[in-house]
């Protein structure tokens, strides 16, 4: 079956512009996570959605970052007024429920802010 997909795979933008990153989780997975990996850094948790519950936004680095999940499926991570330090690979993962062991990751979106 299809895994987690993300689009675009690469995004180059100018500083100050807004960007939207999309994640399509595995069908039926109720939990969806966003992480980012900056150069030379580990994976940094950003936000987590579980079913219809309010998302855990504790990892969002600033109010320029927001995410939504429509209909419990597709999620969009939006970064407003991008800064050069936002350059990173943004990874989405999904799991059947809150189950740390079986998070399935997408290939990521590589964002470069010039």
């Amino acid at each position: 079956g299809a895994g987690v997909s993300q689009s675009p795979s690469n995004k180059v933008t100018e500083k100050g512009k807004d960007v939207e990153l999309r994640c399509d989780p595995i069908s039926g997975h109720t939990a969806l996570y966003w992480y980012r990996q900056s150069l030379g850094q580990g994976l940094e948790f950003l936000i987590y959605f579980q079913g219809n519950s309010a998302p855990d936004k504790s990892g969002l680095p600033s109010d320029r970052f927001s995410a939504e999940r429509t209909g419990g499926s597709v999620s969009t991570l939006t970064i407003q007024r991008t800064q050069q330090e936002d350059s990173a690979v943004y990874l989405c993962a999904s799991s059947l429920t809150w189950d740390q062991e079986t998070q399935y990751f997408g290939p990521g979106t590589r964002l470069l802010v010039l």
Partner: protein, 113 residues
């Protein structure tokens, strides 16, 4: 404040020998630990996990050891194969508290044929 540390950014091992990847953590509330493997241009894939009630978990060529008193875990791969060449991430969480995974920076393993 880095709660999960992988102090070796890279490791090179001969094919057939043992690879040992290390991970240290500082948060004593962590009770669940995982290793992920990541190939270039792909997302991480789950490899093996261990809960704090155990000190060892084995799955084929992969074994994870946990030393709670030292707040240290290690991943052993034996025998190492060229296909094991990847970046390995250590991750930890407070599972009962449903907290997000905290990842280390990763160790790049190169297995030389």
């Amino acid at each position: 404040d880095q709660q999960v540390k992988q102090n070796s950014p890279s490791l090179s091992v001969q094919e057939g020998r043992i690879s040992i990847l290390n991970c240290d953590y500082t948060n004593s509330m962590f009770d669940y630990f995982l290793w992920y493997k990541k190939y270039p241009a792909e997302g991480p894939t789950f490899l093996i996990s261990i809960s704090s009630i155990k000190d060892k978990n084995e799955d084929g060529r992969f074994t994870v050891f946990l030393n709670k008193s030292a707040k240290h875990l290690s991943l052993h791969i034996v025998p190492s194969q060229p296909g094991d060449s990847a970046v390995y991430f250590c991750a930890a969480s407070n599972y009962s508290g449903n907290t997000p995974l905290v990842f280390g920076k990763g160790t790049r393993l190169s297995v030389i044929a």
